[in-house]
Amino acid sequence: MMDRGALIGGMIFALLLAMPVLLPILGAGYLTGLLIKAMLLAIAAISLDLIIGHGGMVSLGHAAFIGVGAYATAIGLESGIEEILLLLVITLAVTGGIALITGMLALRTSGVYFLMITLAFGQMIYFTLTSLAAYGGDDGLTLWSLATLFGSDIVQEGEGLYFFVLAALFLSWFSVWRISQSRFGRVLRAARDNPQRAEVMGYPIVRYQLIAYVIAACIAGVSGLLLVQYAEFVSPSIAAWQRSGDLIVAVVLGGLGSRNGAILGAFFIVIMEEFLSSIFHEWRLIYGPLLVILVLYAKGGLNDLIHPKSREAS
């Protein structure tokens, strides 16, 4: 039997790979930036799907880790660190560390209480970022120098940056899919399905959930790093809880725990926003009902519309 999830995923990446060539031919080169934005959202959404879709832990503070990653990068750059791989290590250490501590506390709860406590931690991080007066406080910080790859400025703009972000998206997509199908992922899904049962199979489930939470935060942190590189600017608004809400919408809209859902959901959101806001000022009047219809009539999300019954979680 052909693996349609892989096929659709392959098509998405082939298309993204071809875009830098296709767009200028179509005279739409200006859309590259939009695609980078969509890919950055997709990376964060993929990471959130690991904990919501596969882990059943609905976090309303996930965007805070994008913020942590972005600020770790920005502060690194301001301190004169320009090598992107070194900034990556710093970003992973800082987001991972914060996720480990907040996760240990948050995972004492579940369900709506987990949602509330992750929201609280997210807001704490958000307000901490607004109070960083040396790095722009509320107003944010414009960066005058960007990261380099082995001393080269190839990853700073244009196609170089595009392909770098695409590579990060591919790695996130591939890793989360592999993790979800691994022994670890199976335990995580078991704990989502029935925590009591998973425990009485002999698994210390909180340990698995915490590791998943840290992995997801680290991937979101990478999305923050790349966001700085793309926007050349960082502000606390990227860590606001509304942004966490957007991520949840992307994941649910795409299809929880499906292989390609998070990417589809993120692209749908970014493209619809761009498209609707260009034709209609009050575009949210259309966007809202559209979301309602999609959630009501496509319960498995966009992924199910393309590829029915592909939920990996079965």
Binding site: Q181, S182, R186, V187, R189, A190, P204, A313
Partner: protein
């Protein structure tokens, strides 16, 4: 295999376990019966680790497990089924059992290779499924099974942990006559390899399966003996079998 030594538990002023001692020898099925509110569930919680006893000990295969958590007791060899069936509904029947096998077979901190592709896990799970008679259901989602089949799946999951003791919490609950008969046959067959502590309302099942019966009333064991002895015991009759069983 299992030994419980003078277990006491209070909820505030209410004494729910009063100096309970019992033991299950290898190859034996020990049943605990008692009216509602006698403290059977509290006893099960203390054996499985959901609740901690105030005093006393729980020994599994000679090892004191009194202070271990739920998952550690499972790893130490305690297999259990639930009064209200508890499986992984979105997993296939095979994967339910394979996930339980996985807990006892190497580390589960493996992040990249596919678990569903591990032949050893699947073969062991398949063998257990045929032992309980569910092999033709292996690829169905667990949510599709009938109530009786779910009971069998729960036993398969418990067996997958190669337990030293099976703790069965009202396995007959909600089963019809024929389904009960199938389950009693299966448990009778398993008994020689897996000692059992059976907490059950269904008297037919208890009298067919148990080697020894303890009668629990108000948190206290008031009578103990073979099924026929307990049937004749006036205290047990008064407390439990009351209406002329």
């Amino acid at each position: 295999m299992l030994a419980i030594e003078s277990l006491n538990k209070n909820f505030g002023a209410l004494q729910v376990s009063k100096d309970i001692s019992l033991s299950v020898a290898p190859g034996q099925c020990h049943a605990v019966i008692g009216p509602n509110g006698a403290g059977k569930t509290t006893l099960i919680h203390q054996i499985s680790g959901v609740l901690r006893q105030d005093s006393g000990r729980v020994l599994l295969g000679g090892r004191d497990v009194s202070h271990l958590s739920v998952w550690e007791r499972v790893q130490a060899g305690l297999g259990r089924t639930f009064q209200i069936t508890s499986v992984l509904p979105t997993f296939s029947v095979l994967e339910n059992v394979a996930t339980a096998v996985q807990a006892k077979t190497g580390s589960s901190m493996r992040f990249f290779t596919s678990a569903a592709g591990e032949a050893t896990l699947n073969e062991q799970a398949q063998a257990i499924l045929s032992r309980v008679g569910l092999s033709d259901r292996a690829d169905r989602p667990a949510a599709d099974l009938s109530h009786g089949e779910l009971r069998l799946l729960e036993i398969a999951i418990a067996l997958a942990g190669s337990p030293k003791l099976l703790l069965l919490d009202e396995p007959m609950a909600g089963l019809g006559k024929t389904e009960s008969a199938v389950l009693i046959d299966l448990l009778n067959e398993l008994r020689s390899s897996f000692p059992m502590l059976l907490v059950e309302h269904d008297m037919d099942a208890v009298f067919q399966l148990a080697d020894e019966v303890s009668v629990l009333v108000d948190g206290k064991i008031v009578a103990r003996g073979t099924p026929s002895e307990v049937r004749e015991n006036p205290q047990a009759r008064a407390a439990y079998l009351g209406e002329g069983a």
